[in-house]
Symmetry: C2
Subunit: 433 residues, 2 copies
Amino acid sequence: MLRQFSKRINVNAIRARDFAQLILFRASSSDIDKDKFEVKINQTNETFELYEKKVNIASGKLKKFEFPFVYLRDNCQCEFCYHAQSSSRTLSWENFDVSIKPKNFLFDDSRNVLKVIWNDNEQHTSEYDYEWLKARNFSIENREHYLKTFYRPDKKLWTKNNFKSILQNFDFMKIIETDHELYDWLNCLAIHGVAIIKNTPQTENEIRRIAERVGFIRRTHYGEDFTVKAKEGASNVAYLTAPLQMHADLPYYHHAPGVNILHCLVQSKSKGAENLLTDGFQIVNIMKQDHPEEFEALSKILVNWYDVGKEESGPPFHSILRAPMFCFDYENKIERINHSIPQRDSFFTASVEDVKRWYKALAKFIELIHREAVEFKTEEGTILSFDNSRLLHGRKQYEDSAGNYRHLVGAYLDWDEIYSRLRVLQKELKKKY
Amino acid sequence: MLRQFSKRINVNAIRARDFAQLILFRASSSDIDKDKFEVKINQTNETFELYEKKVNIASGKLKKFEFPFVYLRDNCQCEFCYHAQSSSRTLSWENFDVSIKPKNFLFDDSRNVLKVIWNDNEQHTSEYDYEWLKARNFSIENREHYLKTFYRPDKKLWTKNNFKSILQNFDFMKIIETDHELYDWLNCLAIHGVAIIKNTPQTENEIRRIAERVGFIRRTHYGEDFTVKAKEGASNVAYLTAPLQMHADLPYYHHAPGVNILHCLVQSKSKGAENLLTDGFQIVNIMKQDHPEEFEALSKILVNWYDVGKEESGPPFHSILRAPMFCFDYENKIERINHSIPQRDSFFTASVEDVKRWYKALAKFIELIHREAVEFKTEEGTILSFDNSRLLHGRKQYEDSAGNYRHLVGAYLDWDEIYSRLRVLQKELKKKY
């Protein structure tokens, strides 16, 4: 079938070498709806230029999309090069020619398709739908649009002052039953790093139900879901009634869990037990601006985060991660904060000078996270969800009493699964991309 | 109890302010076994200096350990500052004074303990065992020793030429039954990135048994353990008999799985089906040295890795990670390679110029990973385990036939759990740290 098609194109196509630098298939102005696009070869002889003539006429600007030949050959959508069922590229790169050029090409206005015959031995033929090309065009605007609207929502940082305006409530059963509420909750969590789920049934299994709406619970050496109650012989300081200083969970994991979900089954009637929350990325920005030396120390000096112990049901563990407090992504944007007073190792593998300046920077950081901390007591039936890579959280001291034992059930979710679910829902709900 | 102790020290201790810069408690040479250590305050008035006199006499060199006051105060081991049961620091940092100084101090030779009374309002008292201090001393040698012998074993890179000399076999039942074999397997995997397990019973459950000796299976959107068989309607190109080009698994996960374990239940009797393996970190080194422009392109230009589809048992997924092919850790050492021809997105959010130079660099990388690839066919009863962040793996084409359907069962492990298990085993087996 491909061979037949290939022959047909050969007859109609115009030879690229004769038309490089020239705009092909010029349409008369009366013919605009039919012949909407023009294609030519860029003077580098490495890319196609594709012009959307309609936009040109409407705005007075010539909208040009540029596509490297090598990119188009690599992304041929034919059944030999692309396995549609698994959305996977199947062409072989063992003998791939990165200098490949088109032998012939044309824009088929009747089907809105760019057709290319390549100059390899087989004269392989590719077709690219105009909408497919447009969505992938390399303009800065398009790339930014794609990243913000589909890759990951942009984060909006908050302070103590505007926390109330960003905090949103979602309904447990609506999340279970509707994709809209699920999408809105996860989108809010991605943007603001915190969201509340109300009206959760009072059983220990609800945290698992909500996690499975997203994907699955992220397991750690503490298991999957876990109970937070004050107890004797605690393997973790979170299982004490003493104040839980502000921290991020599990900084000793290279793959630290992305999101905490904490279901309040029984809240303490005593004074205390309030949650503390701070948008840590906001603090990083403040430190970068106002305390550059401390910012630098917390960004560069590696600390050993650790956890050593044994859970009832599991084997012993001795986790260590050597990482700075502030971790940045591949574009040098803050992506994770490590901070935990209990889970910071007494093995500190840095120089004496670095150790001294690191402690001074830590003190500044702790001062700022307390200055910007919001305080609230979650109600029974509430799930508090927050971004563990971004927010610092803590809990004030409380007292259990006869008949009133504070009781939470918690679990973790990973951002990999959350972003994946958001994209699937976005496609379902909004029919984009 | 603490108060009593504190009083006793006060009587015997010498006031720090009078003795800064002076060596305290000088011992006569005949008294060396009893009075082994000296302590003084450094001229910065920010650190203690601790001298091991025995070493001094034996080697002619004065062995000096320096400990910042702030570090020691932060790491006070008393029951108020440290919760031994959970190995967690419990002192409060809300009012912690990073400028804290000792009010009094001495080295108690009878118990090998440094005692410090701090100059805070409560005159808090701390004790530090000499062995505890020595293990944590900040000398470069000690830090390097700690990192190499306990944090993570040093990786040893290999090439096609010396692969046979580094490939080690381990016995399935010995791993299940003895901690020595478990330790040796995981240690080999950490150092060389590849290890073979032989004599595995021929059931589909063995991969889970071996994973649970380490910790637990790393779950992904493909589930926990998975079956690799050629099948109709494949959701992933790995489930085809066509050649599987060299790649790393799941590059679209921010938290990509650390280790692949693949149990060969039925091997193909046809020509083909050989595994291909390359030590990718070796290739990164070669490119850095010999092809700096290509190295730079693959280190800096972000690519969209993706996987879109649906597994039989799970909800749909649409994973994307935007990351370079070569990813570096906090000390700028290579820590992960992303490479997968099928799972590279046609959305490539880079500039046209970057796209062009990225493809040229990719071609060089693929040339080199094939040049350095080793080739072998795993036998039935073998588990192939390898580091998915470091090695590239592939599989040659094969043919299933009546009565001979190639059949593997695979799963992933995370390095977080493997390193944790290695440390626990090291402590058990070698009584170190």
